[in-house]
Symmetry: C2
Subunit: 134 residues, 2 copies
C-alpha cells in the first residue's frame, strides 16, 4: 500500500488530500463534528468562531464530496439540514485530534522558541539557497 503512493511526488493524489486536510476550516469542522456528533449548519457556524457562511458551505460540500461528512435533510419548515461524520470522517477526526492535542500541549514551547528566535541577530553566512548549490 505505501508503495502505491508517495506524498513527496507532486502528482500523487495524496498531495491534494493533504492540502484538503491541512485547510484550517476543514480541520475545525472535522474537530467540531468529532466533538459534538450531529450538528446543524447554524451550530457549526457558532462553534467555529470566525468562519464565514460561504467558507463553511464550501468546506462542508468538499467534505461531503470526499465521503467524510454526511448531510441529512429533514422536511421540516424551514428545512432542517444536519451534518455528521461518516465512518471515514471519524477515522480522520482521530488523526486530526492528535494534531490538535499536539498544538495544545506545545503552544508554550513554540511561543518560547519564537521569543528566543526574534531576540537573536540575523544568521551569519549567505542566504540558505546560495549556501548549497545543487
Amino acid at each position: 500500500m505505501p508503495d502505491r503512493f508517495d506524498i513527496m511526488s507532486a502528482a500523487c493524489p495524496t498531495r491534494q488530500v493533504l492540502r484538503r486536510i491541512g485547510d484550517k476550516w476543514t480541520m475545525l469542522v472535522i474537530s467540531a463534528l468529532g466533538d459534538h456528533g450531529t450538528m446543524r449548519f447554524s451550530e457549526l457556524s457558532r462553534e467555529i468562531e470566525g468562519v464565514t457562511q460561504k467558507m463553511l458551505t464550501q468546506t462542508l460540500r468538499a467534505l461531503e464530496r470526499d465521503g467524510l461528512v454526511e448531510r441529512e435533510v429533514f422536511p421540516t419548515v424551514p428545512v432542517t439540514v444536519q451534518y455528521s461524520l461518516t465512518p471515514l470522517g471519524k477515522s480522520l477526526a482521530e488523526a486530526v485530534s492528535t494534531i490538535r492535542a499536539w498544538a495544545y500541549g506545545h503552544m508554550d514551547e513554540i511561543e518560547g522558541a519564537r521569543r528566543e528566535f526574534d531576540a537573536q541577530p540575523a544568521p551569519s553566512g549567505p542566504p540558505t539557497p546560495m549556501a548549497t548549490p545543487a
Copy 2:
C-alpha cells in the same frame, strides 16, 4: 491544560499553529526530515517535488522560528547548511505521520466517494445557509 486553549476561538494562538502545521510545505518538510534525519537544503529541494526555493526557504525559516527545525552551518567552502528536527519537531513529525498514513490508507475510499458524489444530481432543497436560519 486543555482549558487554557480553545481551537474554536478565533483569538486562540493554537489557531495560528494549526494553520502553520496545515500548510502543505510544512507537512512535507516535517515528513522529509522525519524520514531522513539531517538534510541539506538541496536534498530537501529534490525530495519535496514541486517546492520552489523561495517557499522552501520561507518554510524552513518559519519552522526554525517555531523551534521545530534546527539549522546548522558548517564553515566549508561553500558553506554547508544542514537541517534537522528538534525534539519538539520530532514530536510533531509523529502526529504528521498519522495524517500521512491516513491519506495513504484511505485514498481509494476518497476517490470512490468523489466519483459517487459527482454522479449524483444536485441536492434538493434550498442552499444550506438559508435552510437553517440562526
